[in-house]
Amino acid sequence: MIEISHLVKRYGAKFAVDDISFSVGKGEIVGFLGPNGAGKSTTMNILTGYLSSTSGTVKVGGIDVLESPYEAKKLIGFLPEQPPLYVDMKVDEYLNFVYDLKKCTLNREKHLKEVCEVTKIADVRGRLIKNLSKGYRQRVGIAQALVGNPKVLIFDEPTVGLDPKQIIEIRNLIRNLGSDHTVILSTHILPEVQAVADRIVIINQGKIVADEKTENITRVVEDGRLYSVKICGPQREVLATLKGIPGVLRADAVGERELDSFTYHIESEPGVDVRKSLFFALAAKNWPILGLEAVGMSLEDVFVKLMEADTKKKMAGERRNRA
């Protein structure tokens, strides 16, 4: 449904998007993940024809976005980073405007009613957009993208500014849409894509770092486990002991939080549970553990992980080539 090949977008000397290629099949939900400034929005803006690329091609439904933008745009529903709302219009007027703008041929009354029901904005249809809360505005933005029932939906950070309940609703909505739409959504929140997407494309500094099925990414992420542990004891010796425990890859002192006790971060080898040996090693030295908790991996950690994996793979490949 969507084919991006060797896409490059350059602003002066800076590459916002640097040779990206991936494709999205029909009915697939792809999460587009990356830190701020990674090139997510740029890619999405090119995909929707708002920006043009420096080089490379983008095809939606087999139609080149650059060559026949008119036909391609008809297939796409787009929610930009900031929902494009005319705040001096009522929700109903706005949706009718979008309906006309997209030259829809569906039954107007019925279709708009459906869209409003799906996005749960039916009760604010008569209100001025100006007076709506951020969550409602975001939903009107999503409704706008759904008008005309386009085959491809592109959401740029759809859950920003919503409360937790709304976030879950929107995620469910997107998952339901995935059954008969092709969806790309961008976010910088890892659990969000894990919850919604079939596949995850991770992008950093304009380059694709990983393009995997969601389960596989999750495995990479949960492979090495990270713990935060608070121990009462002399810092240097504790650290040495920690590093001596079999299965511990890395141990760092993070700081003194209470008198005599320090917090340490421990990373264990994949598949090894170090918590028991940690306890016994410290008990033997008479250093009590005041707290122990598993730390979820942040997006940055995931990048580091993925890039480490990437370089290892490359080095292994080179070694094989040499041999």
């Binding site: 929707t48 745009k73 900031q82 005319y86 001096d88 405007f97 703008l101």
Partner: protein, 234 residues
């Protein structure tokens, strides 16, 4: 394209801007009409139109300042630019909406001629000629205003920029009085919006001037389209 036109017209009347425009336009035209004809008991309308033309410089940017600047500021342009609408269609829709506002108000202000015709002799050739010229000049000013608005995301920058350009275009003709060189005067005369207008006030339908105004209008609308194309590429 029609959808954008409709929304644009709506927005003139759901925000104060449309009413402000109509009020200022009618006040300025009514005041100058009274001053130049009723006060001096004359049915010569050429001075009225000249004053009105200078009033345009300040009034017409009211219509155009928001057109693209506001869309850019609120990011709604992203909706328009990713919808199946062509860039020229988008620019034309905005142009026609502003033109409709302007033309409608001008028609209302033309009612002044009716009572005048009851009590005096109106030179209809001059009046019609001037009215047509007013429409053409209005179109030109609107297209310049739309172009300036597409360059910025601040309405006030857009309006002051437009006022500056329009003022410069008018003042060019005034320079003629202080410049000695015949060649320079000829060129200035040629480019001046004001000088082109003079023939109409004598009741002469100057086809060359019509082409001149229409060309300026088309050039600036075309440039507005180019602004959007260029922004996509940079």
């Amino acid at each position: 394209m029609f959808a954008i036109y409709k929304r644009e017209m709506r927005s003139y009347f759901t925000t104060p801007i449309g009413y402000v425009f109509i009020a200022v336009f009618l006040a300025a035209s009514g005041f100058s009409f009274a001053l130049t004809t009723l006060q001096v008991q004359s049915s010569d309308v050429s001075l009225y139109f000249q004053i009105l033309m200078f009033a345009y410089i300040v009034i017409l940017p009211l219509l155009t300042m928001k057109t693209f600047a506001e869309e850019r500021r609120t990011r709604t342009e992203q909706l328009l630019l990713t919808a199946p609408v062509s860039l020229p269609g988008m620019v034309m829709a905005k142009f026609f909406a502003a033109f409709t506002m302007f033309f409608g108000t001008l028609l209302v202000s033309s009612l002044y001629f009716y009572p005048m015709s009851l009590y005096g002799d109106v030179n209809w050739a001059r009046a019609w000629g001037s009215l047509i010229a007013m429409v053409l000049i209005g179109m030109t000013f609107i297209s310049i205003g739309i172009f300036v608005s597409s360059l910025t995301e601040n309405q006030f920058t857009a309006s002051f920029g437009t006022i500056g350009i329009l003022l410069a275009l008018m003042i060019v003709a005034m320079l003629n009085n202080i410049i000695d060189s015949y060649a320079v005067r000829l060129v200035l005369d040629w480019v001046s919006i004001y000088s082109r207008y003079m023939n109409f006030t004598y009741g002469i339908f100057d086809f060359g001037a019509v082409v001149y105004y229409a060309s300026i209008c088309v050039v600036f609308l075309f440039l507005s389209v180019r602004v959007f194309e260029k922004r996509r590429w940079s």
